[in-house]
Structure formats: structure tokens, C-alpha cells
């Protein structure tokens, strides 16, 4: 597994940091700390899991 590095100010860097931020919000939702409406407001769409 190779390691790459990218500037946080680059489009790729910004997208990756957004992915992490989204994940933190989804995890907070799964822990019951925030409502799904917070995810909706951020444009994070969950789908029927199974």
C-alpha cells in the first residue's frame, strides 16, 4: 500500500478532508448524537442499508 501526499488546499485535498468530515458526522449520527436532518443539511445521503 503506497502512501501519497496532497496539499490540503488542492481540490483533491479538500475533497478528502470533506470525506473525513462526512464520516465524522455519520458516526455521530450512528451514535445518536445528532439527528439525520444534520446530515441532510450537509448533503450527506444515507441509503437503505439492506
Amino acid at each position: 500500500m503506497k502512501t501519497k501526499s496532497v496539499s490540503p488546499d488542492s481540490p483533491t485535498g479538500k475533497m478528502l478532508l470533506k470525506m473525513l468530515e462526512d464520516k465524522k458526522l455519520v458516526n455521530a449520527y450512528l451514535r445518536g448524537e445528532i439527528e439525520k436532518s444534520v446530515l441532510d443539511a450537509k448533503g450527506i445521503k444515507l441509503v437503505n442499508p439492506l
Binding site: 503506497k2 502512501t3 501519497k4 488542492s10 475533497m15 478528502l16 465524522k24 450512528l30
Partner: protein, 166 residues
């Protein structure tokens, strides 16, 4: 092979299960299309998957092979229902435990589906953040080359370092 825990659906977007040790896990899937803006035609195939322990994680989590069996079972269920689906994983490596998590997941998955799936992994440093990403889909997927291309495009402008973690 360990027996998966029983799970229950909670609302339209969550699955939960409780372990013999009293820990509760939640699992959900999300749309991943926004993460591959240059490959919009793959949007219908790509999903992200998240799993999370409820409550505080300050105490040590007991070793429990049934957790891996359950999460793997749920992922296999997803592929049963979406054979041409692809799952995208993203993890924050800031706590230094991510490589261990990746290995644990790979062990879980190899036990139940050693040859059925292809999994690609990458590590990208973004400033001080170390981000682990993976993609998982079935062997022989009709869009295999495109999925790999889309995955490799994440961080394509990045500079590659010589270190190799495998």
C-alpha cells in the same frame, strides 16, 4: 467461523446489533457519488459503508470474533442484493490504529470470501491528516477497470512516496 449476531433494522437507514459483551454497533450505507466527481456514471454503483460502536470508546474493546463475522455478513448481504455494487471505505488514521483495523477487516473478509472480491487500498496524507481509503467489489465486475481508475484518481495529483506499508 464465528456466528454473526442477530441484527435489526432501525428506521430506513440503520442496522444495529448488540454483542455478548453488551456493546452496540450501528451500520449504515451512504451515497458515494460525490467523492468521484469525474466518474458520474459510476454513482449508481458506489456506496460508502460506516460502522460505529455506540457510546464511549474509552474502555478497551474486548476481542470478539462475532463482530467481524457480523459486519462481514452485512457486507456480503449488501453484495447479494447489489452484485454490481462497489463499496468505498474511508478512515482517519490520526490515531495510529488504522493499519491494524485494515488488517483486521481483511482477515475477516478473507475467511468468508477469499476469492470472490477485489479490494484496493491507498493511503493519502493531506496536510497532517493521514487518510486510508479502500474500494471493494466482486471479481469480474463489468466495470472493474473503471472502478479502479476512479479509485486511483483519488489523489491522482498527489506525489507518491517510496514507502510501502504492505
Amino acid at each position: 467461523l464465528s456466528i454473526p449476531y442477530n441484527y435489526k433494522r432501525v428506521g430506513s437507514t440503520k442496522v444495529e446489533f448488540k454483542t455478548d459483551f453488551g456493546l452496540e454497533y450501528s451500520v449504515t450505507f451512504g451515497e458515494g457519488k460525490g467523492y468521484f466527481p469525474h466518474h458520474p456514471h459510476l454513482a449508481e454503483y458506489l456506496r460508502t459503508v460506516y460502522f460505529q460502536i455506540q457510546g464511549s470508546q474509552e474502555s478497551k474493546i474486548p476481542v470478539d470474533s462475532r463482530v467481524g463475522a457480523t459486519i462481514t455478513f452485512l457486507i456480503l448481504q449488501y453484495f447479494e442484493q447489489n452484485p454490481d455494487g462497489a463499496l468505498f471505505f474511508i478512515h482517519d488514521g490520526s490515531d495510529g490504529k488504522e493499519l491494524g483495523r485494515k488488517k483486521k477487516f481483511d482477515v475477516w473478509f478473507r475467511k468468508v470470501a477469499p476469492d470472490r472480491f477485489r479490494k484496493e487500498n491507498s493511503v493519502i496524507e493531506v496536510g497532517r491528516a493521514k487518510i486510508y481509503i479502500s474500494i471493494l467489489f466482486r471479481q469480474g465486475h463489468p466495470l472493474e477497470a473503471e472502478l479502479i481508475s476512479a479509485f486511483e484518481a483519488v489523489g491522482a495529483t498527489a506525489s507518491e512516496k517510496p514507502q510501502d506499508l504492505d
